[in-house]
């Protein structure tokens, strides 16, 4: 059995996960990354996507996160999500609303950078919707 480490998934509203895990897959800003124990310290922003957690007991859980960032240390990993829900309990309407908002943001974008950002966000959401 691989070494385990402490993983915390927190959203502003509550603490979703706080347990010993074997590995975590995070949708990082520059690509997906799998974190195992003794990972080098990394700080990364997280784009909307699915986080896959393999617990120390071997079961896997999946969570949808909507942006945030991860603080990775050799001893543990903290994922601060802007909002997060377990994949099983995701609300399709909520997702649709988020996409609607993103589209409006895109339409409202004034300059190129904000437009690009909004477009990226919308793309992430679309991939997320396709993934679940």
């Amino acid at each position: 059995m691989a070494a385990s480490f402490q993983f915390d998934l927190v959203s502003p509203e509550r603490l979703l996960v706080s347990e010993e895990v074997e590995s975590v897959v995070i949708p990082g800003a520059e690509g997906e990354m799998t974190i195992l124990a003794n990972h080098a310290p990394v700080m990364t922003t997280v784009k909307p996507g699915v986080v896959t957690v393999t617990t120390a007991s071997g079961s896997t859980e999946r969570y949808c996160v909507f942006g945030g960032f991860a603080d990775i240390l050799p001893t543990g990993c903290t994922l601060l999500a802007e909002s997060a829900v377990a994949v099983g309990s995701i609300d399709r309407n909520d997702l649709a609303k988020r996409m609607q908002n993103a589209r409006e943001d895109l339409a409202d974008a004034k300059d190129a950078t904000t437009r690009q950002k909004a477009q990226e966000y919308l793309d992430h959401l679309s991939t997320l919707e396709a993934a679940i």
Binding site: P12, A40, T45, F69, L80, S83
Partner: protein, 294 residues
């Protein structure tokens, strides 16, 4: 002297009021517990956010790539005050306490010749501040329709603040809210959120040493993403503290009211009994003296 019937009516009405205040107290107690739980649940996020922010801030240093939200505009001419109060009254001195605290602050700033702008969160604060500073209030946020306070509400307020900052609307932003100490004590607090440097420095002192991180993307980029989020978190925390404080204040205010009503009923009952007895005695005297006269 009130008649017996008047007294009876009076007692009945006080009893009805007591029932209402009692019910309100119990509702407040239940809501308080929920608000406290929400505040508790939000704590890990804001703590970790503070630690992470301090880490990155140290990595970036005070260098040129630190975002303006952190370093400020370098002036302190225009102050934005975000005054958070409750949406409802009947909670003792809770709202007026915050409003008074903010008012003192405004007067002091005005005395120093600064420009003051106000954003009111919550109806009650708006009602109070409107009397003195109607021209300074630039915006108000109504949370009356909100059933459970979510991060989205805080995020919307924070976005408003940041948008205003980016337009050059103000130099320093301070958040006014009531810190929840206990059910009977809520302390009005001012928290400076922009520039964020001060609060970040405090976080750095708490978190202690920093690890040598790798950053993805660049620290400056993360930081400029993080600071606005941190402001949302601060606002969210303020709103949650306020919600808990409001319920605490309401609970003790209603407890007082219930007790007062109880006292009043006691007093009225004594008066009522005394008067009834006096009337009986009077009637007896009339009968007896009538009989004697025969």
């Amino acid at each position: 002297m009130a008649s017996l019937k008047d007294l009876r009516n009076r007692i009945a009405s006080v009893k009805a009021t007591q029932k209402i205040t009692k019910a309100m107290q119990m509702v407040a107690a239940a809501k308080l517990r929920r608000a406290q739980e929400a505040a508790e649940a939000a704590r890990p996020y804001s703590q970790r956010m503070g630690a992470v922010l301090a880490n990155i801030a140290q990595a970036v240093g005070g260098g040129g790539d630190a975002p303006a939200l952190m370093t400020g505009t370098g002036k302190d001419d225009t102050h934005l005050l975000v005054v958070c109060t409750a949406e409802r009254g009947l909670c003792g001195g809770f709202n007026s306490q915050i409003a008074r605290f903010a008012r003192d602050h405004i007067r002091r700033l005005q005395g120093q010749g600064k420009t003051v702008k106000i954003i009111c969160v919550g109806k009650k604060g708006f009602d109070i501040l409107r009397r003195d500073f109607a021209s300074l209030i630039i915006d108000r946020v109504d949370l009356r329709e909100v059933k459970t306070l979510g991060f989205v509400n805080a995020d919307a307020i924070a976005r408003k603040i940041i948008g205003l900052f980016n337009e050059g609307g103000f130099d320093i932003c301070t958040l006014f809210y009531s810190e929840f100490k206990s059910v009977i004590s809520q302390v009005p607090t001012a928290l400076q959120v922009i520039p964020a440097a001060a609060s970040v420095a405090a976080g750095a002192a708490e978190s202690g040493g920093t690890a040598a991180y790798e950053y993805e993307p660049e620290p400056g980029e993360i930081l400029s993403d993080l600071i606005p989020r941190n402001i949302s978190v601060q606002v969210f925390r303020a709103l949650l503290e306020n919600a808990a404080g409001e319920m605490g204040a309401k609970m003790s205010a209603m407890d007082n009211a219930t007790r007062n009503a109880g006292e009043m009923i006691g007093k009225l009952t004594i008066t009522y009994n005394r008067q009834r007895q006096a009337q009986i005695t009077k009637e007896l005297i009339e009968i007896i003296s009538g009989a004697e006269a025969l």
